[in-house]
Symmetry: C2
Subunit: 270 residues, 2 copies
């Protein structure tokens, strides 16, 4: 998906909501456990319920890996099921030496490899340029690079001073020499609103993937006020607050209501 | 496996060789492609051939993921097949917010989750403390944290100056406040011999996992001279130079010869 297509979807749906498909089989409604593939059954219902309000879906790969081979099958079915007018993110936080990153890129971008055809993958920057560029070799696919994450540990290294700057700023500036804003997004936690203005200075044109609204406590109003740009430029993720809005048979309706509330708030900011 | 057990195996086998099971189905001898599971058939032959000379095996998870669900099945069979007196490393370079890193830890350490029971997993440090500590909650299991990697991109961020130090030094010092040398190793590329003396100052007691000997050009003599400590303290990885020593029906014999040559050189340094 191109940046222009993504931007059009955002303005058409009046939403920059990304639904995080962090599907934990230990948390899904018990009546689904008799389905042949409970994780896919849950995801399908969540997608059906939230697709009018969401522009992107982001399965965190850890949740599927933790189930072994059948988890990968649930992931394949889920990706195939997501409507074509939604952007898909493999939240995998991969990164390795060049020839190995090439394999991770194949895994998530080339359906003939692992049966997956994501639009984007999250990548960890620690290993530098040659760990990132193999993901940029697929036309229409995106790297979403970790910059300043939403967790407490983000202070340990990402905010270390490097000369006059902090490490995450060096990461963002360096990565812009590798790719254009039409191939590269950054992960910025919603809990980092104090730094968000600085981040928009460094990367005025980039899309930012913003987790941390909802269960992690970030403010959608603050993120939107500072983060929106002329093409939208935000994908704000919510996972647990939507997926587990109810543990009962009404889980999909409650998920739809949560997603709709976020979409309505987003529409007011766009 | 405890540090003492690993050390005993090193001195008994007179080896600190780790064989990297970076098994690429496009590179294995063609006569194996008619096997029901060609990747496992190849790995089994490599393990049989090299086990007398190796103390550790390190599948890089990218190679298995790139094959989808059947790749995970090959990985499960491979791990089950590795002899009990060899240390196993999931080279996955994972790292995510705490509750997600817990799932990655389950994936690789808890056989009831994904059918895998590795001794250790490689972890990327960028997201800080809460992305690493969930891997430390399994008794007898290890975190192998990326410190200074073997690739060209290691210069981009790992060697950035942070005050008087470089980022990788800050990572190594900070991580030592999270775990003892009996749970924590560091990845240090064999191509980084100029920094290896400094690394041994920072972490005199830790095991170091050293990739980059062989295809990537690092020197075993230099790494061993600077890196060995009183309990051995090194795991030196070779992948392509062993796995693909021959593309013919003699691949296992040639792999054994490569491994034996490395073991003999290691014995001379121990």
């Amino acid at each position: 998906m191109t940046a222009e297509e993504l931007s059009q979807i955002i303005y058409r749906k009046r939403s920059y909501l990304c639904v995080g498909l962090d599907t934990d089989i230990r948390k899904i409604p018990s009546h689904l456990l008799s389905e042949p593939d409970p994780v896919f059954a849950f995801n399908r219902a969540i997608i059906d319920a939230t697709a009018p309000y969401a522009v992107a879906y982001k399965p965190n790969i850890a949740f599927y890996e933790a189930m072994g081979p059948r988890g990968w099958e649930s992931l394949q079915k889920t990706i195939d099921y997501i409507p074509a007018d939604c952007f898909t993110i493999a939240d995998a936080k991969r990164g390795d030496i060049g020839n190995t990153s090439s394999l991770y890129a194949r895994t998530f971008f080339d359906p003939s490899a692992a049966g997956l055809n994501f639009d984007s993958v999250t990548v960890a920057p620690y290993m530098g340029r040659d760990s990132v560029v193999p993901f940029l070799e697929y036309p229409g696919k995106w790297v979403i690079l970790l910059a300043l994450t939403s967790n407490a540990g983000s202070a340990d290294f990402q905010r270390q001073p490097v000369g006059e700057r902090e490490l995450y700023e060096v990461v963002m500036e360096t990565a812009q020499t590798w790719a254009t804003p039409d191939q590269l997004m950054f992960v910025v936690g919603a809990t980092q609103t104090e730094q968000l203005a600085r981040i928009r200075e460094i990367a005025p044109d980039h899309f930012l993937l913003v987790p941390g609204v909802g269960a992690q406590g970030g403010s959608l109003a603050d993120v939107s006020r500072i983060g929106l740009n002329s093409r939208g430029g935000l994908l704000v993720n919510a996972s647990r607050s939507i997926l587990y809005a109810s543990a009962g048979s009404d889980f999909a309706e409650r998920a739809a209501a949560e997603a709709q509330a976020l979409q309505a708030e987003m529409a007011s900011y766009l």
